[in-house]
């Protein structure tokens, strides 16, 4: 247990309190603790871009320890894109540093009168002027502040209150989703810099022993070998083979140019692998385009960014994708929402709803993609409309543009196709921060995690559960996975070595937390904490008027079936040639309402998607406590 700091940028007041032990026992820390604070501090009357909104940086219970991948930092805020619950999470070193400096959370409120950054050490917190940094991109900002400590900052996009702006830490790790960068910009807060003077010395021997065992296991786990070798771009090929590679704004689910954007192609630009704090996997990439018009060096691109900035706008030039990724990072944009918003713009243009005096807005035109990235970040021309994300942009454009907006609750879809990856489809609909692959990360069926499925589900449903095309038990996978992910985020470890593949299991985490807390935590208790966090986040949205109508998917996934093809690669051109007949015909979401019915029933929520009083009591969520 450590401290919670409250920093009011309006008054300059800083208050540091010992974190309430009861809160940590109920919510663990990290995301769980952040959600608890958000519920208390930002009610329905708070405008997300007003001084009254809070921006909470929090560190999970394992953060900054010797537990492998205990690097993940978390931010929680009222989201300007959804108007309700918002959070984002990233690796690197910032989150671990915050924990090592002795903070469970740093709660920023108010608004500075001129640009500032907040400097945090174990013994003091200072608000310092940042006039010279305002307007600067991520690299120059980081270069200046890194002399002091680990940096999380915004770029011009966040300063301009672009709603799809994120917060970038450690130069290229993006705490991207939901508009946290815009919230930070609205407070005139350029950066938070943390310098820890001590390491976490409070660790029990049993915890250190379990962490050491996990470090050994993850260092040699065969399930992580591709990730170690190629990073997340390894997904490009297999997503395309499966028909889960959304392209042309989800009009298609496969691209013929997959070889041009595959992990092996990216590998030619990667001189270095990068890791986060205490990680034995090192899935991160440093890409370098040595010469030509896209000459640059940048962290990434990750799978999601490749997919959003490549196939979505139909761009097949890997160097242009790397460069687009660099520009998004430097400007402080969420690559997923940016790529999806650009694809939305291109489809609007295809239907005559949008045009630009300088850009063609044609599919596959990398100059249009790069031009729109700059215009969005600076709110120039049509960039000002697109800067608010697809939902708000569609409302402004009108004429039915909303059918091209690939979003749920205002947040753009990450890079799976709901029709083919149906577990993800349901998770995109139900996620409390909007369309989200990480709220549940329901890979159990698509990744073939049969051993884990056998542990958590009855034998008689397993065959249907593991069939990616069978919707019947998708709610079961999503509910279980949402709890596991909430726990992982509350502990501050990485989903790529846990929820995604069960290389770290809930049993391992229960053992670790038991050792850390010095009292037995069963797997069931641990997953119940995850359930409590999900329900609290749901209740935050319910307070903002959300219900079943918001757990939806864009019409396209319910009414536009897609075929999935087997592709042979032409050895001459490297392009994919589709088979004569598809391997899957007419794939579509068959019955979202039935999936929602079962999802709510499993959760103990009403048909309207609202937790019942009985469920809240079972989870020890006393509403009277949270309704002030």
């Amino acid at each position: 247990m450590a401290n919670t700091a409250f920093v009011n940028l309006t008054t300059g007041e800083v208050i540091v309190r010992t974190t309430n032990r009861e809160d940590l026992l109920l919510f663990i820390g990290g995301r769980g603790y952040g959600s608890k604070l958000l519920y208390e501090l930002a009610g329905p009357d708070v405008d997300p871009l007003s001084p009254e909104n809070v921006l909470i940086f929090s560190a999970g219970a394992f953060c900054g320890t010797t537990w492998p991948t205990s690097s993940r930092g978390h931010i929680t805020f009222k989201s300007p894109v959804t108007g309700a619950y918002g959070h984002a999470n990233s690796g690197g070193y910032f989150g671990a540093e915050l924990a090592r400096a002795g903070y469970d959370a740093l709660v920023i409120t108010g608004k500075a009168s001129s640009p500032v950054y907040v400097f945090v050490t174990d013994s003091k917190i200072e608000i310092r002027p940042a006039n010279d940094l305002w307007g600067k991109e991520i690299t120059p900002t980081s270069e200046t502040l890194e002399k002091l400590g680990r940096v999380a900052c915004i770029g011009p996009a966040g300063e301009n209150r672009v709603l799809i702006a994120g917060v970038i830490n450690d130069r290229s790790r993006a705490t991207a989703r939901g508009g946290g960068g815009a919230v930070m910009g609205s407070k005139l807060l350029k950066a938070v810099v943390v310098k820890a003077q001590a390491s976490r010395h409070d660790l029990p021997e049993a915890f250190k022993a379990k962490a050491k065992e996990m470090m050994g296991r993850l260092s040699s786990d065969p399930r992580l070998e591709d990730l170690r070798r190629y990073g997340t771009s390894i997904l490009v090929d297999i997503q395309n083979m499966s028909g889960a590679m959304p392209s042309r704004n989800h009009q298609r689910v496969q691209v013929p140019f997959v070889q041009k954007i595959s992990a092996k192609t990216l590998d030619q630009y990667v001189p270095r692998h990068k890791g986060c704090y205490a990680c034995p996997v090192h899935c991160g990439r440093e890409s370098v385009v040595p010469d030509g018009e896209y000459a640059c060096g940048t962290g990434g691109p990750e799978y999601e960014s490749i997919s959003a900035l490549g196939p979505m706008p139909w761009v097949s030039n890997m160097e242009a994708i790397i460069y687009s990724n660099l520009r998004c990072n430097e400007l402080g944009l969420d690559t997923i929402s940016t790529g999806v918003t650009i694809a939305f713009a291109l489809e609007c243009a295809e239907h005559g709803l949008l045009k630009d005096p300088e850009l063609s807005l044609e599919w596959g035109d990398e100059k249009s993609v790069l031009g729109l990235i700059e215009k969005i970040a600076r709110r120039e021309g049509i960039g000002d409309i697109l800067a608010d994300g697809t939902k708000k942009a569609a409302e402004r454009i009108g004429f039915g543009a909303e059918r091209f907006a690939m979003q749920v609750k205002g947040l753009e879809l990450p890079r799976q196709d709901p029709r083919v990856a149906k577990s993800f489809g349901l998770a995109h609909a139900t996620g409390n921060r909007g369309a989200d692959h990480l709220y549940a990360l329901p890979t159990m069926d698509a990744a073939g995690i049969w051993d884990a499925a056998r542990r958590y589900f009855p034998a008689e449903i397993l065959d249907e559960l593991m069939d990616t095309n069978n919707e019947k038990y998708k709610p079961d996978i999503v509910v279980h996975s949402e709890h596991f992910c909430a726990v992982v985020d509350a502990l501050g470890i990485c989903k790529l070595v846990s929820a995604e593949n069960y290389a770290t299991t809930p049993e391992d985490l229960a053992e670790g937390l038991s050792a850390l807390w010095g009292r037995d935590v069963t797997v069931q208790e641990l997953l119940t904490i995850g359930e409590r966090i999900v329900n609290l986040e749901r209740m935050y949205n319910v307070r903002h008027g959300f219900n079943r109508k918001d757990d939806c998917l864009p019409e396209r996934f319910l009414t536009e079936p897609v075929d999935v093809w087997e592709y042979k690669i032409d050895p001459e051109t490297g392009m994919g040639i589709p088979s004569e007949k598809p391997i899957r015909n007419g794939v579509v979401i068959q019955n979202l309402e039935r999936m929602l019915d079962r999802y709510y029933e499993l959760r103990g929520w009403s048909k309207e998607g609202i937790p019942t009083q009985q469920t809240l009591r079972r989870l020890d969520l006393r509403l009277s406590v949270y309704e002030g």
Partner: protein, 93 residues
């Protein structure tokens, strides 16, 4: 010997069936089973093997409920084998 094999998702799509019983020579390994199957369908072969000819991590195989880590493991009569495509390897952004 006879083994029961279940194919899931993309593996079933490529091979055109979800389940079958196969007769294998005594001493057959997991590797040899995958090799035989890969002769049926080029896409399955691309999924199942690395460029170096090893079984790829994109193919996840279970034998009687246990994940197979060493493809040279010998199969036994009445074994139940399951093959999944592993669409995994990182979803972070």
């Amino acid at each position: 010997m006879k083994v029961k094999v279940r194919y899931y998702n993309l593996v079933a799509d490529y091979l055109g069936r979800k389940t079958e019983e196969r007769f294998l020579e005594d001493g057959a390994t997991c590797y040899s089973l995958v090799r035989v199957l890969s002769e049926e369908n080029e896409s399955f072969r691309r999924l199942a093997f690395t460029d170096e000819g090893k079984i790829s991590h994109r193919l996840r195989i279970f034998r009687n409920g246990q994940m197979i880590v060493d493809a040279n493991i010998r199969l036994a009569d009445q074994d139940e084998i399951q093959m999944f495509p592993a669409v995994s390897g990182g979803c972070y952004s």
